[in-house]
Amino acid sequence: MSQHIINLIYLLAATLFMVGIKYLSSPDTAKKGNFLSMIGMAAAIGATLAAPEINGFTLIIGGIFIGTVIGAYAAIKVKMTAMPEMVGLLNGCGGAASALVALAEFHGNSTGFVPFTLLTLLLSLIIGGLTFTGSLMAYAKLQGLIPTRPVTYPGQQIINGLIVLATVALSWLVFQDSTNILTIAGVLVLSLGLGVLAVIPIGGADMPVIICLLNSYSGLAVSMTGFALSNNALIITGSLVGASGIFLTKIMCDAMNRSLANVLFSAFGKVDESATATGEIPAQTMKGGEVEDVATILANAQSLIIVPGYGMAAAQAQHATRELADYLGEHGIEVRYAIHPVAGRMPGHMNVLLAEADVPYEQLFAMDDINDDFAATDVVLVIGANDVVNPAAKTNPASPIYGMPVLDVEKARTVIVLKRSLNVGFAGIDNELFSMDNTMMLFGDARSSLQKILATLKK
């Protein structure tokens, strides 16, 4: 196939990717968009295989077969609650692939490159490498394989800074002699190390931001590979992914009222609990409720807003939540869900879990669309959310989360909080919501609490 035809097919693929994202603007058309995107990918792969440069197919077919088996198995088996981990791992694969393509280019060339190609190849190698290890670390933090709290040590940022300098210095040597595989390998090793060291000082609950950012990096790495190979399909697609990652990163940061630099470098959540959670709010002032009390309050309500948080995901309580909501809905109670942008461990995490439990998406409301309605609501049911409903973000300038937009749940007539234990949230601070007069706490596993409430209501 001639290169011109191949390039036209690449253009078709890039167009289909864009149309695919456009169709994601509504859940009704989203599935069709994903199909179009798949067709684009298949066309681009097919066209590349028909390129005159491809001589052997054995390794290609083998690689595609192995990758398909692993990818399909993971995609079918993964639990919806583990979606952040899954996206993290996929990101890592993409980053590693870009780095390896750059490595193969370096390795296969004995005559050197023009400076621009060399620069983009190096960037592809570095960004791909750090995306790979950074994503693995994010995965390990989300899975709890390594401590989710920020890992810090003295001089950490100086050490990281030195590694960046060393990477730049070695890259400079590659510019002098791009055929020396040792310096190239050195750059790769440093970028792999950088990915690890950059992510370990970041707390587990900040991983959504990191996953978005790494998503953007993997796109950037693809764009750089595209520049090096003069492949427009890679340039366009990489920039689409890069833009999407940056956009989501910004949404996450805005929703926490923190800058990206603060997320990356402040080791947020490091503050140990004894220092900030001063116990100013003694447990005695909290109103502990029984299942019967909660059931009575719900039975007498006319409107209910459910606020899910990471605790709902951790307890796999989405189905129990929907069953309770269905029962209440059938008995004439208006049920809606309020979704905070950083609830859960990735953007839209709660929406996917509730969709899995067959909650119609029309019942899910973003924070800005529902925040004014809390005052006119009878009952708010908070399921495993903490910092996103902490009024201190509005009232206490000394609080680490002061200024973060939060859900105004305390304005409702009654707030019921399902919580595993009295532990502080991610920010390591007390939540005065829990001791307010109109709040009732129900401690225990969210799923079994919800099931008990439903059983009591049915009696």
Binding site: A30, C93, G94, V101, V114, T225, T237, I339, A366
Partner: protein
């Protein structure tokens, strides 16, 4: 690579960044997770580079091994990304 090619590439890059930002801003928060996994899948387009690296050499050598690994990883990215996105989107009902 001549300067003209570089400038065309940069032009495409900048325009695609803006087009991407416009498209993505219209995706509702409820679909942000599928957006991430879906855009993840298309970033597996790096597979094109991997295919060229693997199929290009005249004979089996270390470049084809590196390419082979890249093909596996990029395929996981593509297949896993699309399938998991499909699984999620299937669940969104009125």
């Amino acid at each position: 690579m001549d300067t003209g090619t570089i400038i065309i590439g940069l032009t495409i890059f900048v325009l695609a960044c803006f087009a991407g930002a416009e498209l993505i801003a219209k995706v509702p928060p409820t679909l942000h997770t599928p957006l991430m996994s879906g855009s993840n899948a298309i970033s597996g387009i790096a597979i094109l580079g991997a295919l060229l690296a693997t199929g290009h050499p005249e004979s089996f050598n270390s470049i084809s091994v590196i390419g082979f690994l890249a093909v596996i990883l990029a395929t996981i990215n593509v297949v896993g990304g699309y399938l998991v996105t499909h699984r999620m989107l299937q669940m969104f009902k009125k």
